[in-house]
Amino acid sequence: MISRSFETTLNALALLAISAVLGVAFLDQFAKGELPCPLCLLQRAGFLLLAIGPVLNVARGPRPAHYGVTILAGLVGAGFAMRQVLLHIQPGDAGYGAPFLGLHFYTWAFVVFVVAIAACALMLVLRGSGEEPRAAGGARLRLAGLPLVAVLLVLAMAAANGASTLIECGFEACPDNPTVYRLLQ
């Protein structure tokens, strides 16, 4: 069984990993000039949904319910990614965007969502059944150090994605194959 402090550290590292995934997507967007499609943006939103459970774990203490939130987010995100995989599954379809390490981003997204679900299952096994005493009402802990940095980084990613999406789509519905940043035209 793992200690509570180690569990909190693992959740903070998970938040850093989610930030890294979103960072790579941003890097591709700005370095290669590939604008994300609506389904791509939804998968980014899925990663932010995935971050809610670890944020709750580091801010209010680890609980099985928080892992449940992450598993639900993983299922939702995997559904988003699988939809895009199936849209391009026909032989001869080049897919959307350039591949990254041999796979398209949406395929990687599906893999990461499934790995996140498996990681939650593993954490639920490793943490055991013993509930540590905690304050009622999900009281917050004092965030500091690595957990605070990880939470702030995820918040920055959410804000950056919101701003980037607004610049890309403007005040209309996002096109299926975006080619320009509408607010910069």
Partner: protein
């Protein structure tokens, strides 16, 4: 526009989960999940090129 609004909602949910009251965080988290699924359903209207 609604995708940017979804990210704003997610930002609020994450901030509330980290720094806000649990009741507000729960509401925002539930709203985020619901909004994400609704946006997905709005976009998932094209038939998939599948045959079973």
């Amino acid at each position: 526009m609604y995708l940017a609004a979804l990210f704003a909602l997610l930002f609020a949910a994450l901030a509330a989960a980290a720094f806000g009251p649990m009741r507000l965080a729960g509401l925002l988290i539930a709203a985020s999940f619901l909004a994400a699924v609704l946006v997905y359903l709005h976009h998932a209207t094209d038939p998939l090129p599948l045959s079973f």
